[in-house]
């Protein structure tokens, strides 16, 4: 992965009006604190040495989901050309946590950003054949133009923030 790919990813996020922050593992808690309003729900991140801060509710109920301002999940990969994050459904609830809160905060490793769709689908094919049962390619917030103009937050999050974990 080249710095070019990361720069392309950032340009794409910019185009989508999606905010992003680079941080180290040590700085993650501060970044999350900055971009999340309470109450925040989350799903533990699968990265070595990374833990969500204690103020993040990592065992939410349906009522918590309904009330959440932000939902923090990992993203399997980022797709530079489109500014997409791939969110994989897991038994501990990545899909609902990324879907019900007003803001979705997706955390991914810088090395997991791929250039485009061909690379993304190579990765996805492998994931599906080795057992993951679902993934969402999420690009920006949910949106609709059905009511006469583009509105963000039709059914899902109104806003997305991407946190890139530098290594």
């Amino acid at each position: 992965m080249s710095t070019g790919t990361v720069a392309t990813f950032e340009d794409s996020l910019e185009r989508l009006e999606v905010g992003w922050t680079h941080t180290s593992v040590d700085g993650l808690a501060d970044v999350l604190n900055e971009v999340c309003d309470e109450p925040t729900v989350g799903v533990e991140l699968p990265y070595d040495g990374v833990e969500l801060p204690s103020w993040v509710n990592t065992d939410p109920t349906p009522a918590d989901l309904r009330a959440a301002n932000a939902g923090i999940t990992a993203a399997g990969i980022g797709i530079a050309d489109y500014g997409s994050v791939v969110v994989q459904g897991t038994p501990d609830g990545v899909e609902p946590v990324s879907l019900f809160a007003d803001r979705h905060v997706a955390v991914l490793k810088e090395s997991d950003i791929v250039p485009g769709m061909p690379e993304a689908f190579e990765w996805l094919g492998e994931e599906f054949r080795t057992g993951h049962s679902s993934a969402i390619i999420a690009t920006g917030p949910s949106a609709t133009a059905d009511m006469g103009a583009l509105v963000k937050g039709a059914h899902g999050p109104k806003d997305v923030h991407v946190v890139i974990l530098d290594e």
Binding site: P62, F121, S133, I136, V151
Partner: protein
């Protein structure tokens, strides 16, 4: 005007008035978005071909892929049911819901479920069905039907939706803005989703290797529908299967761009149900998700409903490659003005709608709107899987003409290919045999022109042929181009090339001046010209759906030109729709080698001039100018063939200052604008072009247009005359 024509015209007029503006604004926006968005791809054409190849292969191997999919779905823990038809599918879905004692089903938008009308079946079983796509929900509240396959409520303005919501729900504060309306719908639907028992979705694609379905959405309602209730029913046509997960890639890149002009939709859900995500049980709001009993159930219902027969049908098979992106609707000038309520059948609408309706509902349904396809071919380059949509429409038109043809009829037609089948209307027969009318017209000109203008003649023509009395008729010339050419001494010293100028019906009988101009221009550039006696291309019968007659023309034209081609002569064609016949439709009619020969030897006249100039021929032989200002309208088929730029380049090189129209179509499309049931629509579509050529920048410019019908439309819309570009650049003597 006949009662049927009058009723059709009235319906079209009413839809233009009530829904035209809303449909037009959105479809044009989507279409412009497509033009911009596909530019971000490195290899758009390559990606389209890849997508097409995947679909071709998948439909070819469909039975095998179905078997594979059954294995993977069952191995994943889901159920696959293949339904023969709508009744079969509806019964199965109802039983699944009844087994779960479901009180409410939430649905994410799906055309297939519209096709089978599953809502009726479930509601009859006392199950509450809620459409969660905001557009679909608006229609459900309004008791209306979709008018577009991607944006179902496209025909409703924001104001109309606000009125509907304020009347139906009587909110404390009246809703007004798009934001308010969307948030209101989000809240209402959110609650309805929360206590739903079954979630129903469609599936844009299903991969046989893993049983993964792809759902292309932006709102997030499909995600909620699939994740909240513990039972998920997905309904799709059998044609949605593709071999592998990797095969999804070109479609994911193309579908949003082609449809709404988004680079990608907000969500592409890739689900291999039953998924691992915990259900969200809002009836038990205080138990953590991870402790919720999750025993998910998944039913994939694949529907045949005529599709396997379409697969066996050489002409309709391509319809199954359709990925329901709506590009063909958005690019269609007629659709932009009337929308899917005129341009659609029971379920499907727009360009590809005819193929779907013919296959799924039958010819009668398809016939109702089939004539709205003018065959302009603008959709063929828009289609991300390269479906020849105009051809499908022509085939369906032909079948409608034939009605319930018996085998005896087919035999008789085989023996006498000039005979059109009994079902062809007098109107279609007239336009299909325009060549004959033109011959008679020229022979009796100017008497024929005088006679045809008489009000009594116009009245009869309108009554029996459906030719609108408001449309000016073409004036036949006594001396045809062929007569003129034969009577003159033509001699070019040391010709660089020899060319056959193809005398299409209009150039030969009506627009003779542009033919003469072409001869003069080519000769001035050192080309030896011949004008042979060759039959018309067959475009006229083809556009009336008279395929056998068109094919007969194709054989005659090839026979008439073959020796010239063998002799190394180039075929120069003035009328773009005839050139398109040679370069596309003839592939269906001629042996491959013959098609290759005529297709490779033929050129559009301005393309040919461009080639000569590129090869060093001196442009001074033509009418050069000192920045004369020109307003240019190309021609639909010419643009599809990628030839618009040649005329612009030639004009620029000769010193003209060119502004080119970018409207999708002039609205005339040959016979279409003459037909009384479509006359007003034709004028309405034409008003876009009229507008572009009447701005401060363009209103004084000389008007040139490449196609016969475009010229006729422009002549009737503008106060100043128009001409073919070759007339502008040809030397006067």
């Amino acid at each position: 005007m006949s009662k049927a024509r009058e009723a059709k015209a009235a319906k079209i007029r009413q839809l233009m008035e009530t829904e035209g503006d809303a449909v037009g604004t959105s479809t044009r926006g989507f279409n412009e978005g497509r033009y911009e968005s596909v530019q971000t791809l490195d290899d758009y054409e390559g990606l389209k071909s890849e997508a097409r190849a995947i679909k071709e292969d998948a439909i070819e191997r469909l039975p095998e892929l179905l078997d594979q999919l059954r294995e993977t779905v069952e191995a994943n823990g889901g159920t696959l049911y293949i339904a023969d038809d709508d009744a079969d599918a509806n019964r199965y879905i109802r039983e699944v819901c009844e087994d779960k004692d479901a009180e409410r089903v939430v649905k994410s938008k799906s055309m297939t479920s519209e096709e089978i009308e599953v809502n009726h079946e479930l509601e009859a079983a006392d199950i509450d069905v809620v459409e969660t796509d905001l557009g679909e929900w608006v229609l459900q509240v309004a008791d209306d039907s979709p008018s577009h396959i991607v944006a179902p409520a496209i025909h409703k303005s924001r104001e109309a939706i606000a009125d509907l919501f304020n009347e139906t729900f009587e909110p404390d504060e009246p809703l007004e803005t798009a934001e308010e309306l969307t948030m209101f719908a989000r809240e209402q639907l959110g609650e309805l989703i929360e206590d739903a028992d079954v979630g129903m979705t469609g599936a844009n694609f299903i991969t046989a290797d893993t049983g993964t379905m792809a759902l292309v959405t932006s709102e997030g309602n499909a995600r909620k529908t699939a994740v909240v209730p513990d039972t998920h029913v997905a309904v799709a046509g059998v044609e949605k299967i593709i071999p592998t997960v990797e095969d999804l890639q070109p479609f994911v890149e193309l579908i949003g761009k082609s449809g709404t002009g988004q680079d990608i939709t907000s969500y592409i859900s890739l689900l291999t149900p039953p998924v691992e995500s915990p259900t969200v049980d809002f009836d038990d709001p205080d138990t953590p998700l991870t402790e919720t009993e999750t025993d998910r159930e998944f039913h994939l219902v694949l529907i045949d409903n005529g599709r396997m027969d379409m697969r066996d049908d050489d002409q309709l098979r391509e319809t199954l490659y359709c990925i329901r992106c709506s590009a063909c609707s958005n690019v269609c000038a007629n659709f932009q003005h009337v929308g899917g309520h005129a341009f659609g059948g029971e379920t499907y609408s727009g360009g590809i709608g005819t193929g779907w309706e013919a296959g799924v509902e039958g010819l009668d349904t398809a016939a109702e709107f089939n004539d709205l396809c003018t065959g302009c071919s603008r959709c063929t380059t828009a289609c991300p899987v390269e479906i020849d949509i105009p051809w499908i429409n022509t085939v369906v038109r032909d079948r409608v003409n034939r009605g319930e043809a018996s085998e005896v009829d087919w035999l008789v037609e085989g023996l006498t290919p000039d005979e059109e089948p009994g079902g062809v209307s007098l109107q279609k027969r007239f336009f299909g045999n325009f060549e004959t009318a033109a011959k008679v017209g020229s022979f009796f000109a100017p008497l024929s022109n005088w006679a045809s203008q008489l009000s009594v003649s116009r009245d009869l023509m309108e009554r029996f042929l459906g030719i609108d009395a408001r449309r000016e008729l073409p004036a036949f010339q006594r001396e045809t181009l062929k007569d003129w050419f034969d009577a003159r001494n033509s001699h070019v010293e040391n010709p660089t090339r020899t060319a056959v100028l193809y005398p299409d019906v209009y150039t030969n009988h009506v627009q003779v001046e542009r033919g003469k101009a072409a001869v003069r221009a080519l000769e001035a550039l050192g080309v030896d010209v011949v004008v042979p006696d060759v039959r018309s291309s067959g475009r006229a019968p083809l556009s009336q759906g008279m395929i056998a007659t068109a094919e007969d023309h194709a054989h005659d034209v090839y026979a008439g030109l073959a020796e010239h081609i063998d002799d190394g002569r180039d075929i120069v064609v003035i009328e773009p729709s005839d050139l398109a016949m040679f370069q596309t439709e003839y592939e269906k009619f001629l042996p491959e080698k013959s098609f290759q020969r005529i297709s490779e030897a033929s050129y559009e006249v301005m393309e040919y001039v461009f080639g000569l100039l590129e090869n060093g021929v001196d442009a001074d032989a033509l009418a050069t100018t000192d920045s004369e200002e020109v307003a240019y309208h190309s021609h639909c088929q010419q643009r599809t063939l990628g030839l618009e730029g040649h005329t612009e380049a030639v004009l620029s090189r000769l010193g003209y200052d060119v502004v080119t129209s970018d409207v999708e179509c002039c609205g005339m499309a040959g016979s279409f604008g003459y037909k009384s049931e479509y006359y007003e629509l034709s004028v309405d579509v034409g008003s876009e072009l009229q507008g572009q050529f009447q701005t401060d920048e363009t209103k004084h410019r000389t008007v040139v247009a490449s196609g016969t019908s475009c010229l006729e439309q422009l002549d009737s819309l503008l106060r100043r005359p128009s001409q073919h570009p070759i007339q502008l650049v040809a030397p006067q003597r």
